[in-house]
Point group: C2
Chain length 396, copies 2
């Protein structure tokens, strides 16, 4: 006999979220999630779907008809992109410069593709010349890159140079924009990106569960002319086209509340204005970066490819990363993260995303981090750090 | 240039949801969804994950260690079950007696399996003798059946007889319990079901987005000893085992708010008591059924396999189904559904699930349906229907 569990009221701790995501959720988005549901085929929900698609196009800077929230968290929209575009027999070129390149590889292989690499060390961007060499050597059908590497805090500059190389070789480009969409300059159409996916819980500050995806006609043509169906029914874009396209036919039950939430989160993006939002992330993360540098810490990424939404800070000598993150959680209810993969133990990952990218949280982070590092015996100048951050915040 | 869309406040209509799902969500579950987030690796979230797993075991009536909410809507947990258990070269026996048997077939084929059928007309349950014959003829490795067919309103009785046949042939049994979990008697362990999946937006009355799945050790052993990985990275249970098992290692960002929601929805199940909940569904749907029958309408399913959570009512002569559903939506803000597939145009599908299975909604439905049918010229005895329902509701 299965016994009845004794589970009490939901009372999670009140965290300040400055890790790699989820970021803090705007109160208006939380409120939208308590809205009673309508059915997923209700005429009023069809209208809401249209609005979400328009708002996503605005945020992605694209006119792509085929722009939707995928019914799952960011990895679902990632697999929807890769699993539909990559067909058995295709070759996909993926990056080696961070954790999420490895995930692209795994998804492409499961889709039946062959994988080749464009090499770059973890934490550095891809060099267009290396991409061109890899294209010449392997002639891939699909090229994937990560615009904003959550695992390393590196931003890929020169996106158009990469897409130019790919298009000269008649390949499709898939961009991972999980940690850039809505926080860092991203122009899907102008930059020639054929497909981009993202997550809601980063710079959009929306709970995970419905994840942005956009494909241009060229990418969608490939999907719709596949010889065999995509290997996932749930993520099959040719079937989802029936639901999100003109027909509005039943495929699966959409996560209605998550669609409500992303609608509100994207409304906040539109109200602020996308360029203003990019500027806010730059300014808030700039204050954070100035502070940690003035404290005597080192950023992992060079300034040329610093990623404002995810600040990778080198762990100072003599300090154990997890002691610091544990101290911050226990003493300050503050979440930041440690490194992953090749950078495990070497960096802290400090998010500055969406609703978490504001003066209150940045100030709080600086003081807390200074205390945590000092308590662990690190040689940091907390006062200088706080002063530098305060000065930057005052400049706004 | 992509223009800024003009999207106003979220103000969906206030619907009464008596369709095939989503059902109405309990106010406590809606409130839980406005709870601020913690990180998906936060120690407090790990505790919440444990609680959800315990509550799911209680609701499924199972001791299965491997019991989780899948990060997606019901079709995601369905594909997680089929896509992990079915390997290339396996044969899966699927039913033909409703829409969701067809979906099982499509998922099994995409997983690389061969599909054979056990035949039964739409709207009728499977006969154990037919299942035994199909086993003798095809020797399948996996057998799938739908416990509660949302498309036809038919309940599969005699589940143990089906699982006995399968186990005599050393096959694994996957049960679709989307429209039974938490509303209709279901005993995973006692009935010998090896894997069962469900959706949260039916009898659990929780918004879609995190979907119940349970596998016993025998099923999980097959998953963990696959020769090639599952074809979806997102739904790969051998990787999810790292996150939901003892290790609690990062796989993907869980849909935190949806986990909060299902926790609260399952707490309501435990508070009510699972047997009491089954009884409530029987009693409320019984009042509904008495009313529609007294009105002169006919149920599509015989009493032996009537499904209380989804009442399929024959469309009376001279009436167009969509005229009635449209009238109910326009005049009463009330959602019921029409038929699917083989039963398209022949039935209304009236849900009686979770928080929608209560006296207020059942009474409201009866009156509204009577008015809608009368307005379309159907020969129905509305007074008799209302009286029969009221009498049943008074008996409680």
């Amino acid at each position: 006999m299965v016994e009845k569990p004794d589970v009490g009221e939901l009372t999670p701790p009140d965290r300040t979220l400055m890790g790699p995501g989820p970021s803090e959720v705007h109160p208006r988005v939380l409120r939208a999630m308590s809205t009673p549901l309508v059915g997923h085929l209700d005429p009023s929900f069809v209208e809401i779907m249209n609005e979400v698609q328009d708002l996503l196009r605005y945020t992605f800077r694209t006119d792509n008809q085929w722009t939707i929230p995928v019914s799952g968290t960011g990895s679902a929209s990632m697999e929807a992109a890769i699993g539909n575009i990559v067909e058995p027999g295709d070759t996909m070129l993926v990056p080696t410069n961070g954790y999420f390149g490895g995930r692209m590889e795994s998804m492409a292989e499961r889709a039946g593709g062959e994988v080749v690499h464009v090499d770059a060390p973890w934490g550095e961007p891809l060099d267009p010349a290396d991409v061109a060499d890899a294209f010449d050597e392997h002639q891939p059908d699909v090229f994937g890159f990560v615009h904003a590497e959550t695992s390393t805090g590196a931003l890929q500059p020169n996106v158009s140079e990469l897409t130019d190389v790919a298009h000269e070789h008649d390949a499709l480009v898939i961009a991972d924009t999980v940690t850039s969409l809505g926080g860092v300059e991203l122009k899907v159409d102008e930059w020639g990106i054929d497909a981009a996916y993202s997550g809601p819980q980063k710079c959009l500050s929306c709970p995970p569960g419905a994840s942005p995806l956009t494909l241009n006609d060229r990418a969608m043509d490939k999907v719709l002319s596949r010889e065999e169906p995509a290997r996932s029914w749930y993520l099959d874009l040719s079937l989802l086209e029936g639901y999100w396209g003109d027909e509005r036919a039943y495929h699966h039950t959409a996560p209605i509340t998550n669609v409500y939430a992303i609608r509100e989160a994207l409304r906040l993006v539109a109200e602020e204005g996308i360029e203003n939002r990019w500027e806010r992330h730059l300014s808030m993360a700039g204050a954070l970066k100035s502070g940690v540098e003035a404290m005597g810490l080192e950023m992992n990424a060079a300034d040329d490819y610093w990623l404002p939404s995810l600040n990778a800070v080198r762990v100072p000598d003599g300090v154990t990363d997890t002691d610091v993150t544990g101290y911050l959680l226990d003493q300050y209810d503050l979440e930041i993260a440690t490194g992953l993969g090749d950078l495990d133990g070497d960096i802290f990952r400090i998010g500055c995303m969406g609703y978490s990218a504001r003066a209150e949280t940045v100030s709080y982070l600086l003081g807390a981090l200074g205390d945590a590092l000092s308590s662990q015996g690190a040689d940091v100048d907390v006062e200088a750090g706080l002063a530098a951050t305060a000065a930057k915040l005052g400049e706004r």
